[in-house]
């Protein structure tokens, strides 16, 4: 009986192992899978080959490998790219999804280290600079001129963020700003005016009416703060400037310990602790959409999703003021890699023109919530019609002229966003004294800024 058991199980094991036995052999001599044409440049040959003189028009479109958005946004981007590819036959953009902003940046780093990589890439506001420092991005001024792109049509604050020493490296594409979202139904029910608060002081008046408690715990908060990983440092950037402070100036002088900056931090801390009408949330978008937070600051790019998921009337407004009004930019832009051959670079620039122009550059924001990056796009007729359908989308566009580019400390210092974000977490969650935390954050930022300053000096 036992023997039979043995044989049967052995036979089955044999079967299993027979398959595996072929495994090693096959794996060893398996020919590298030659995938379809798009993969070829990225998977084998170095892309640094000098471009041929002219592309014979009969040999088909110039193909560009592009690393862009993933997920739902990726799907919309795919549509945009298909529209472009079908519209003309000179340039074919082939998107290859790599993941979110961080994952794309990581993949790009690895690919560049191996001297491979795409031709065009989407980089976020905190990542593009790293590649600029490493001289991985192509200067675009000549290409822009060749393509006759009117660079003055771009919104200044968005455009200038990608300019270093008069040369453009990073063209705005999926740009966003924070806007103030509010639950119109909740405001109405609380007897408050159904609009965004004009100032933070007004918000303070309103807040207690919006809070709903269950015993001692707050079930519904008036406002929700994200955590460091969800870019609280981006949102706070606007608030700290509204109070009159800043993170830093363009020369990396950290200004966190100035009195106005500390005032802003104290305000943030009070909202959660002393005044108790805000929470530090795991997922602000979700909390707002499910009605657990009456208001929130979120990126305008979340608008499409919020409108889709919320079961109440959603209102959007400018950010509240304090001493000043301030709103910062965010999002991502397009860059061409320095290793891209000129022919492909020109082709890429044609696509960039389309994607940011009045056609593609209108389709994209309307379907995502990002903002039109050119002034003429926002004024166009199709956009006016869009505003009628989705009035909430107006806010970001109207706020746009009032926006300011971000501080060097957040976008140019590697990890700057997280360093500040973690400091804010200490203030919001651990209730640590604001001055102490900001002093420590300042010290860390200054330390991390050193290599950046060195590189910039070396870049001349």
């Amino acid at each position: 009986m036992n023997k039979r058991n043995q044989t049967i199980s052995r036979r089955k094991l044999l079967k299993g192992m027979g398959i595996g036995a072929g495994a090693l052999a096959l794996a060893a001599c398996a020919v590298p899978q030659a995938t379809q044409a798009p993969a070829a440049p990225a998977s084998g040959e170095p892309t640094a080959a000098p471009a041929p003189t002219t592309a014979p028009a009969s040999s088909g479109p110039v193909e560009i490998i592009y690393w862009g958005f993933s997920g739902g946004l990726g799907k919309v981007e795919e549509q945009l790219i298909n529209m472009w590819n079908e519209k003309q036959s000179e340039v074919k953009v082939t998107p290859q999804v790599q993941g979110n902003y961080e994952e794309t940046a990581q993949k790009l780093t690895a690919a560049l280290a191996a001297q491979q990589g795409p031709d065009m890439v989407l980089l976020s506001d905190v990542w593009w600079f790293k590649f600029y420092r490493a001289k991985a991005l192509m200067p675009l001024n000549d290409l822009l001129k060749e393509q006759q792109i009117d660079t003055t049509d771009f919104v200044e604050s968005l455009w200038n963020e990608g300019v270093r020493k008069g040369v453009q490296y990073w063209v705005p594409f999926a740009r966003s700003t924070p806007i103030f979202y509010y639950n119109a139904d909740m405001l109405e029910a609380a007897g408050l005016p159904v609009r965004g608060p004009e100032t933070w002081d007004e918000m303070r008046e309103w807040a207690p009416k919006l809070v709903k408690k269950e015993g001692d715990t707050m079930k519904v908060a008036a406002f929700a703060h994200p955590g460091a990983a969800s870019y609280v440092a981006w949102l706070f950037q606007c608030v700290i400037r509204q109070f009159g402070g800043r993170y830093s100036d363009q020369d990396f002088n950290i200004k966190l310990t100035e009195s106005d900056s500390i005032r802003a931090g104290q305000f943030y801390q009070d909202t959660v602790n002393k005044e108790g009408w805000a929470i530090a949330s795991k997922d602000v978008t979700k909390d707002f959409v499910t009605g657990l937070a009456a208001t929130a600051m979120l990126s305008t790019a979340a608008l499409a999703g919020v409108l889709r998921e919320a079961q109440f009337k959603v209102g959007t407004a400018f950010l509240p003021k304090e001493k000043f009004f301030n709103c910062c930019t965010g999002g991502s832009g397009l860059a061409i890699l320095a290793t891209t051959p000129m022919e492909k670079a020109r082709a890429a620039m044609k696509y960039i023109d389309y994607a940011t122009g009045n056609e593609g550059g209108a389709f994209w924001p309307q379907n995502t919530g990002y903002m039109p990056v050119r002034k003429s796009t926002a004024k166009s007729e199709s956009y006016q019609k869009f505003f009628e359908q989705v009035p909430q989308a107006r806010t970001a566009v109207e706020q746009l002229p009032l926006t300011e580019a971000q501080d060097a400390a957040r976008v140019f210092i590697p990890g700057g966003d997280q360093i500040i974000g973690k400091g804010l977490e200490r203030i919001l969650i651990s209730n640590e004294p604001v001055e102490k935390v900001f002093t420590e954050v300042k010290a860390t930022l200054e330390q991390e800024a050193e290599p950046v300053k060195r590189d910039l000096a070396a870049l001349g």
Partner: protein
């Protein structure tokens, strides 16, 4: 000495060849894809390396100073040890108990084992969304259970005091199936006769467990102790999807810090410092186990 060695070689050369053939492929692959990067890593820690330009000056121990001197580093070390110790103890104790339970002849135990094993194969993103819901202090599952008892639910993932317990719970939940499956295989290997002999001798259940089961399981216990300690030192996935090291570094462990330094701060050199530290720690802990624990293992 040499002549003795020669004698052994002459006798055993076939065995030596067999050994190389059997072990060679495995070790070669390790050499290329594991040992070599680790060596590279050690060198990396001593320079200021830029991945894209593939260059960097030698800076000696400066990276070590920066990493060890950072204000969060103490917390990170403490977190790592707390996480590892508690997780491993829970995994082994609970794993054994459940294995004993599911080893009995109960109907439906195969299905039970499968369910137990399923968290192991779930992707991080799905685990995160489900557990974030379970932990939500306003309407989550735990809240629903505690509410009738009048106990306020802890804020779990947004509370620095509760974030680590939350992570440990999810980690143990995910890996319990693995420990149990291995324990079950180990229990199967203990010959029935030993139990019979013990029963005949009048040993009670507890004594049978202590004198037959445990010694019989000792090879597996040793294996699990070593591997779960090593795995928990390197447990990254859960932390990344649930708390990303927060709030306020409450769940920042060495492995997460490594990731932070490499991918967020973009400093491969500093990440290498942490990797080296991790490696040395694991080396010491494992060496101690091999030396002192293995001699108590009863291989029959």
């Amino acid at each position: 000495m040499f002549s003795r060695w020669l004698r052994i070689a002459r006798r055993d050369w076939r065995d030596w060849l067999t050994f190389l053939a059997f072990v060679g492929p495995n070790l070669s692959l390790f050499a290329i894809f594991t040992y070599y990067p680790m060596v590279q890593n050690s060198v990396l820690a001593l320079s200021d390396y830029n991945l894209i330009t593939r260059s960097g000056p030698f800076v000696g121990l400066r990276n070590f100073e920066t990493v060890f001197g950072s204000s969060q580093f103490g917390k990170i070390i403490v977190n790592t040890f707390v996480f590892t110790t508690v997780s491993v103890v829970l995994l082994i104790v609970l794993g054994l108990l459940i294995a004993l339970l599911l080893n009995q002849n109960l109907r439906g135990r195969n299905a039970a084992r499968s369910i137990l094993f399923s968290p192991t194969i779930l992707a991080g993103a799905a685990i995160a969304i489900v557990w974030i819901y379970i932990f939500d202090p306003r309407f989550g599952f735990i809240y629903t259970i505690l509410k009738p008892l009048g106990i306020p639910a802890p804020k779990w993932l947004t509370d620095p005091a509760w974030a680590m317990p939350a992570i440990i719970i999810v980690y143990v939940w995910k890996n319990l199936g693995y420990a149990t499956v291995i324990f079950i295989a180990g229990l199967q290997a203990i010959p029935r006769e030993l139990y019979e002999a013990a029963r005949v001798d009048g040993a009670r259940a507890w004594e049978r467990f202590w004198y037959v089961t445990l010694p019989g399981l000792s090879p597996v216990v040793f294996f699990l102790t070593v591997t779960t300690i090593l795995s928990s030192f390197q447990a990254f996935d859960i932390i990344n999807v649930m708390t990303e090291g927060g709030p306020v570094n409450a769940t920042n462990t060495l492995i997460f810090h490594l990731y932070e330094l490499f991918f967020q701060v973009s400093s491969p050199s500093r990440a290498a410092v942490v990797a080296n530290l991790l490696f040395v720690l694991m080396l010491i802990v494992t060496a101690l186990q091999v030396r002192y624990l293995e001699r108590r293992v009863n291989y029959a």
